[in-house]
Amino acid sequence: MTHSESIERSTAEAVRFDGHAALSSPTSPRGAELTAEVERELIRKCRAGDARWFEPLVYAYEGPGMRVAVGMMRDPDAAHDALQESFVKVFRKLDHFDLERSFGPWFFQILRNQCRDMLRSRRARARHEGHDERLEERPAGARWDPGRQMERSEATRIIWEGLEVVGEDQREILVLKELEDFRYHEIAEILDIPEGTVASRLYHARRALREALIELGYAGVGSGDEG
């Protein structure tokens, strides 16, 4: 079997594969089931006009994408909308995608921008209507509760609250690193910042989160000054 035949075969298998369980399981790393070569081949086929070839990419990235979106937006329904919108944007921009790049960071860059845009418009709408911005960021009643579809433990609730307290910039880098375990160069690409600043930003974000959790009474992360 030639190299190109091998790629063709694995791509076809990826499409046939009913991949929900394996490709988007919460424990599977982002896009790991699709190699870079298979991803490129899928993108080439999408560009040729057949949207079916987009399906394996969606299956591979919807799980990690949902975690990042929920982490950034704290609202499962809004995260779902942001994720869907991002996939549609990605599909429409595939013609402009540089095949020399990795698909993952590019996808997460679009998702991150989509989440930020939606958060911004939500805040703007809240200001326009004279609502309390903090209340709008925390949609009222039963709607706001990141733990609603997750474990309902007190610890989980406090950690989500801590992530909310640290603010958007610090939350997004924490989400990318801790929830999805991106490498520093990938985080730099997604956030469009120099790679050299990632470690410093992570330090400040982790420190802020730790302080927020202590403030919220969470004992799990220890207490006292770090020096």
């Binding site: 599909f91 429409r92 709607r143 579809q149 375990d181 330090y203 982790r206 220890g222």
Partner: protein
């Protein structure tokens, strides 16, 4: 005296972003400092705690809705192209037919009236949707 470990180095050590030589160097420094050991332990706990949040997040499966959206443009293009062709043909018939002027004026008024009513309704619905404070709450 063992030199300080910078906060960036500590983060890179924690996230396994150092090469073997640098890692060994930082390890030696950490081994010699209870303060660094304590900080590292705290960050490891924090890292594990945040990571555990991800296990509770599941996607509902979005391919079907995405497929509808990415394939829809073809339908819109065909609908638009058909409407334009039909409108052009109707206009040509309208202006070249031998019907009485009154009949033509009546037909024109009806078409314009229906178009205005439709456009106004769509516009009102759009404004209503844009300003609905509960639009995110109702699915």
């Amino acid at each position: 005296m063992i030199p300080e470990v910078t906060k960036e180095e500590l983060m890179k050590f924690l996230d396994d972003e150092l090469d073997a030589v640098e890692r060994a160097r930082i390890e030696r420094r950490i081994a010699a400092s209870t303060e660094l050991q304590r900080d590292l332990a705290r960050y490891r706990i924090l890292k594990a705690e945040v990571k555990s949040l991800g296990s509770g997040v599941h996607s509902r499966g979005i391919w079907s809705s995405i497929r509808r959206r990415v394939t829809r443009p073809l339908g819109w293009i065909m609908l638009l192209a058909g409407s334009l062709l039909w409108t052009g043909w109707a206009g040509w018939v309208y202006f070249t037919s031998d019907e009485a002027v009154v009949a033509k004026l009546a037909a024109g008024a009806i078409v314009i009236g229906v178009t205005l009513l439709l456009a106004t309704t769509i516009h009102e619905r759009w404004i209503e949707w844009q300003t609905d404070p509960y639009r995110d709450l109702v699915r």
